[in-house]
């Protein structure tokens, strides 16, 4: 149990996917202009991460390892993620139109989000068991959402700030991310 808590906290705060592992930066800078859409994106990514972690764990343990074709893991994992995202998109479209409008538009983007492929590769590399990979993927997703929401909150105010002309937009967002990263590095010795 302690180990699971340690993995979870590690993923959310210490090895935050965005701020210290640099995974999922495209949505971090692309979708972080409004708080609402940032949170929708975060929830969608967390959901896909958890499902992908589950699916790839099962495939890795019961197909790739027994048949000794582990070298195929990159191709298989990306195909699993792409297929999952398609299925989720179809499912949401049919069952819940409101939810589809809330984060349906982010779903196609998630396939090429390195955070999702990242978590499946991290789980495989660390040799996590099923509960461990589920906790790790939920923690990573929550950490992703947290960083995205914080960034969106700051950027909404940054729009009004009188930054130098050359720094407006993307450059100042990077500097803000540096400050966020610095403050997160304070969690370093926690677990």
């Amino acid at each position: 149990m302690n180990e699971l808590v340690a993995i979870f906290l590690g993923m959310v705060l210490i090895n935050n996917f965005i701020l210290s592992r640099f995974l999922g930066l495209c949505p971090f800078f692309g979708v972080s202009k409004q708080l609402g859409s940032a949170i929708s994106m975060g929830v969608a990514v967390t959901f896909v991460m958890a499902l992908s972690a589950l699916a790839t764990w099962i495939i890795n343990t019961y197909v790739l390892i027994p048949f000794d074709i582990e070298y195929m893991h990159i191709v298989i994992f990306i195909l699993v993620i792409a297929t999952l995202v398609q299925i989720i998109e179809l499912f949401i479209k049919k069952t819940n139109a409101q939810l589809y409008f809330a984060f349906g538009i982010y779903l196609p983007l998630i396939t090429t989000n390195c955070a999702v492929l990242g978590i499946t590769l991290v789980n495989r590399q660390e040799g996590y068991t099923l509960p461990e990979s589920m906790v790790a993927s939920l923690g990573a997703g929550l950490g992703f959402t947290l960083a995205l929401a914080m960034m969106a909150g700051i950027r909404e105010r940054l729009e009004m700030a009188n930054a130098p002309k050359a720094m407006r937009g993307l450059p100042i967002a990077f500097v803000v991310a540096a400050l966020l990263g610095l403050s997160f590095s304070g969690f370093g010795g926690m677990v």
Partner: protein, 204 residues
Amino acid sequence: MARFGKEFAKGLIISNPVFVLALGLCPTLAVSTSIDNALGMTLAVLIVLFGANILIAAIRRFVPNITRIPIFIVIIATLVTVVNLIFQARLPDLHESLGIFLPLIVVNCIILGRAEAFASKQPIFYSIADALGITVGFMIALLMISFIRQILGTGNLTVFGHDFGNVPVLGENPVAMFILPPGAFLIIGLLLGLFRRTGVMKGE
């Protein structure tokens, strides 16, 4: 031939993948801790992008429009698997320090972006020029960032075991923040601001 040069040159500055298009940020920031890593990543991206652009340009007439993205992804993933295995066998140190960012080239937007925007519409010859130009542009960006980070963060200039001496003052007191993640964000933010200020690249 003139067009070959033009397609090559545009990747360097006008549509530099990192600084102008803001693509492929994850590997750029993650592997720019040292010049060695930057060059290793460039080599991996070169092999994958070169192969992917040639293959995709070669099959562009036979690929049905509706299934093109999955086909591109499978081609790219296969090439990345090949590169991953080559690095594991021949360059184990580099394979170790690039870590999961080597397999993550699959979802690097630079490569899928070039496949979608260029190689799927253009002949093989120009797709090669495009791949080379974009890779050199990627290398320029990575080298700039990693050079600054390595000098400020470690104070030395070691490249693949060749020691080019220590930097005065910084050699004894390196600012470790610059090889940590926040340093990467700070350096790329300031570089982008500088490029816009000097007019090398356009602002928003």
